[in-house]
């Protein structure tokens, strides 16, 4: 893919990319949503074709809302048409015109949901598990009653950070943990810190808010733009302006690397700088390994782990670094799940009208998992893990957790 300009110009370039479409239909055959529902006419149709019929201010098509934003189309297009980016923008226009429903506003602010849930976490989790209340939720705010919803914790990640005594080192990294670690899965953040410290790094963990990705995927662009530029500022505490920024949430990492620029058209000096320095955690570890700097004092992990590379990680165009690192672990039987999408695509699959579609999209993946019957499913994206567990009953973990275990963690 070609590199886009920063700021408002990015959109002009994305739009201009529609000129490159030669109607070859490659994207149509790869889109997981078009494959399972007639409600979505497919990437070529809603992307480069429909875009020609759009002018600002009035959206002619609603079906673009069924695009999950998984980004597969943009990745497979041989002509570098930025299909998924075109769709994102069109969705945002649609929401701007018609107003986003309350449900979009709610799932788009995980911090809000997480914060609301926290002091009463057990009660919240019970409520989310209770089908009657979930059913009421579907009725009133349109979150599907069976959709995977995270469990809140009573202690946030930043609470742990406040009590953590880190190692000091000349080799330092900044850790961008994202909201799900903060509100739902603080153990992921603890393990990332431990792994990096084990490899001799001092981990700088600045106070940080949401990257704005959920706002973006629900079409709330101005708010998302604000969020990501604020986050970029937060990720450059004094004296860290040249450190690698490590992301353990693939989607949030992608936001900093590409989407803030390519979809939101955001721009700020901090964002440009952070964007260039952002690494997926496994991308970073793989580079260490390639330089011979990764510690490989692994204990055997006698488990069968099925690994799913989520779309948002694939969209970083870094291959599947987690797979390569996990392969180093003795005793581990690693199965690569070669399926494109689990269906959830961020918050897409939790919406009432999209839930069934998302489940059908994930069907081939779920079937592979069930056929394999692994001890664990590993996947870098939190929402995908929730979806996979909800759909298959399998226990899913961040691949980090397996690495952490190989390093002797519990």
């Amino acid at each position: 893919m070609t590199e886009l300009a920063w700021g408002a110009e990015a959109w002009s370039e994305v739009r201009a990319s529609l000129d490159r479409c030669i109607k070859c239909t490659v994207c149509e055959t790869a889109c997981p949503v078009a494959a399972v529902t007639e409600l979505f006419p497919g990437p070529k149709t809603v992307g480069p074709q429909a875009e020609r019929f759009r002018t600002g201010g009035q959206s002619p098509d609603l079906s673009v809302d069924y695009c999950s934003g998984c980004g597969i189309c943009s990745r497979v297009c041989p002509q570098d048409v930025r299909i998924a980016e075109l769709n994102s923008r069109a969705r945002s226009e649609l929401k701007r015109e018609r107003g986003a429903p309350l449900r979009d506003q709610l799932v788009a602010r995980p911090g809000l949901l997480g914060r609301a849930g926290r002091p009463v976490a057990p009660l919240f989790n019970w409520a989310m598990a209770n089908s009657l209340i979930r059913w009421a939720g579907e009725r009133t705010i349109g979150i599907h009653r069976k959709a995977p919803v995270p469990r809140s914790t009573t202690r946030t990640f930043s609470y742990w950070v406040g009590h953590h005594v880190g190692t000091r080192s000349a080799r330092r990294v900044v850790y961008f943990h994202g909201c799900s670690t903060q509100w739902y899965e603080p153990h992921v953040g603890q393990k990332v810190t431990a792994i990096l410290e084990h490899n001799g790094y001092q981990v700088v963990i600045p106070k940080q808010d949401c990257c704005g990705l959920p706002l973006q995927s629900n079409g709330l662009f101005p708010a998302a733009r604000k969020a990501v530029t604020r986050l970029a500022r937060q990720l450059v505490p004094d004296g860290t302006s040249d450190l690698p920024v490590i992301a353990s949430s693939t989607s949030c990492g992608l936001m900093l690397k590409r989407e803030a620029r390519e979809i939101l058209g955001a721009d700020s000096p901090e964002l440009r700088s952070v964007s260039q320095r952002t690494y997926d955690i496994f991308e970073f570890l793989l580079e260490l390994h390639q330089r011979g700097e990764l510690r490989t004092d692994f204990k055997p992990v006698p488990l069968t782990v099925a690994y799913h590379a989520p779309c948002q990680q694939q969209n970083q165009l870094i291959g599947k670094p987690a797979l390569e690192i996990l392969r180093l672990i003795p005793g581990l039987r690693l199965v690569e799940l070669d399926r494109s999408c689990c269906g959830i695509a961020g918050t897409y699959g939790v919406k009432r009208e999209k839930y069934e579609i998302a489940m059908r999209v994930g069907e081939p993946l779920f079937a592979d998992i069930q056929a394999e019957g692994p001890d664990l499913v590993a996947c870098d994206s939190e929402t995908c893990r929730w979806q996979i567990s909800a759909a298959t009953g399998a226990t899913s973990v961040h691949p980090l957790e397996i690495l952490h275990r190989a390093y002797g963690g519990s």
Binding site: A8, R15, D19, K23, F53, P60, D61, Q79
Partner: protein, 518 residues
């Protein structure tokens, strides 16, 4: 030979002829309208698509500016469905004289145009692709015209008032009885049959060909065809019409028409109005010119190139032919009775698409006087069929409709969103459709792939329905594809070259188009 009787025979089914037919029919006259080809295939189907605000003429030709401003207002009232209300901007690019902008503003106001200067920042916010170096910007009431929609609405309106329309009927002879023209003989271009039409009055509305038609009647009309080249760019680079604010020259307007942006145009005298060749130099000139209004224009995908011929009349003709009503300089009604002593023939020449209504009014005024009957002109207020709701045509209409198409109504042309149902509806309207007629009616094959994916579908379906025999379907397909390629060969670079390659693989590799059985 078949013979028909009519009050008014109109020769030429472009915007002018269709306007004359509508106007006469509304006045209670019986009209017959003929064209040697399908309607809207002359200059009217090959023009730039601009509903003039008048701005282009404000400084140089205030009379035309005033006419455009007034007619623009009327057409918006009576023909909304054929127009898109894009609005327009006149901008001073770094190469344009700022002093001209002041003169322009004053002249535009004097011509009765609605015009407003907007801060450069506002213009750039509205039009992100506009050259950021512009120094002044004026908002005007430009729009775009869908020529097919307009002409077909005029024809439907006329037909509803009793008019008869005959496409593919070429006038081969004008019937003269001494000093009187009494009608004409047409040859059906599809069957070779001849038809005679006896008329109380013949209107020569053959545009750039009106000299040729006048010659058939034995008189001279000095129209000089002036060729203009246009290039369509794959998508809209701007929402509004973009005009350079300077004395009119080549390639200084970009018009958003349907899904494309059209840059134009040039003006070269040619001997034959059927000369539609576009040279690579002319194309290059347009593309370069676009760069000044929209930086990066050159990198945009050019879809198609075409040219049309202006029916220009030397100024002397205007003075000689004016009737008792003062006729503007932009068009002229030649009463051959007064001019050449030949009664029963009127030529309308010059003008613009934008002023078609006024041209028709002026012409039919003369016709009514000659026939001694016919009512007052009603076209100022009579709304055209399809425009009753007064909603302007909007670029998103097709996309919106395609959304509600039932799933069992597949798209045939994906670029222009034409469904099988659309095709069926159109072909049922009249017999003997050529693929190219269907293209004009539905825009099949007008999108980025230029027929690569839809032409064979349409030919195949028409064959399946028994409308085309095998040989007919094959040759129709070949003819259509060759015609489309003519328009793309001079712009085959970048994305369009890749598309052409793929299309060729489909037509030559998969269908072996060159060797399909006759």
């Amino acid at each position: 030979m078949n013979a028909l009787d009519t009050d008014v025979l109109v020769i030429g089914g472009g915007s002018t002829g269709a306007g004359v037919a509508w106007d006469s029919a509304l006045r209670g006259l019986h009209v017959t309208l003929v064209d040697r080809q399908d309607f809207a295939t002359g200059t009217s189907g090959r023009f730039h698509g601009l509903l003039h605000s008048g701005g282009r003429y404000a400084v140089k030709d205030p009379g035309s500016a005033r006419e455009c401003a007034a007619e623009n207002r009327i057409l918006r009232q009576v023909a909304a469905d054929c127009l898109e209300d894009t609005g327009g901007l006149f901008v001073s690019t770094p190469e344009d004289d700022l002093e001209y902008a002041d003169r322009f503003l004053a002249a535009a106001r004097a011509a009765g145009m609605e015009i407003e200067e907007v801060p450069v920042g506002v213009a750039l916010r509205d039009e992100p692709r506009l050259n950021p170096k512009i120094r002044r910007a004026f908002r005007v009431q430009d729009g775009s015209i869908d020529s097919w929609k307009m002409i077909s609405a005029l024809l439907r309106g006329a037909q509803a008032h009793g008019a008869k329309v005959l496409p593919y009927h070429k006038v081969v002879k004008v019937i003269r009885q001494g000093d009187r023209v009494e009608g004409a003989v047409m040859e059906d271009q599809r069957t070779g049959e001849e038809v005679r039409v006896n008329a109380g009055c013949v209107v020569n509305a053959a545009g750039a060909w009106s000299g040729q038609v006048a010659q058939l009647a034995g008189c001279e009309v000095g129209v000089r065809p002036g060729k203009g080249v246009m290039v369509a760019i794959n998508h809209r680079l701007a929402r509004a019409v973009l005009n350079r604010c300077h004395l009119p020259s080549d390639g200084d307007i970009i018009v958003p028409v349907r899904t494309v942006s059209v840059i134009g145009t040039t003006d070269h005298p040619v001997a034959d109005p059927d000369d539609t060749e576009c040279s690579p130099e002319e194309v290059h000139q347009m593309i370069e010119a676009g760069e000044l209004l929209v930086p990066g224009f050159k990198e945009s995908r050019a879809l198609r190139v075409w040219s049309g011929s202006r029916p220009l009349l030397p100024k002397t003709e205007g003075a000689a032919g004016a009737g008792d009503r003062e006729v503007s300089r932009s068009h002229t009604v030649l009463d051959h009775g007064a001019r050449d002593g030949l009664e029963g023939l009127v030529t309308i020449a010059g003008g613009k698409f934008t002023t078609l209504r006024l041209m028709a009014e002026d012409t039919v005024d003369v016709v009514v006087r000659k026939l001694g009957r016919g009512a007052e002109c009603r076209t100022r207020t009579e709304v055209l069929p399809g425009s009753e709701s007064h909603h302007f045509y909007w670029i998103g209409n097709r996309q919106q409709e395609a959304e509600s198409d039932p799933p069992d109504d597949p798209l045939i042309c994906e670029c222009e969103l034409v469904s099988q149902h659309d095709l069926d509806t159109v072909v049922a309207r009249r017999p003997n459709w050529r693929l190219d007629d269907i293209r004009r009616a539905l825009r099949v094959g007008m999108g980025p792939c230029q027929g690569g994916f839809c032409a064979f579908r349409v030919a195949g379906m028409l064959h399946q329905e028994g409308r085309y025999g095998r040989a007919e379907a094959n040759s129709a397909l070949r003819e259509f594809v060759q015609e489309r390629w003519k328009g793309v060969k001079v712009i085959s670079w970048g994305a369009q070259a890749r598309q052409t390659r793929l299309d060729r693989w489909i037509f030559e590799g998969v269908y072996d188009l060159e060797h399909l059985p006759e």
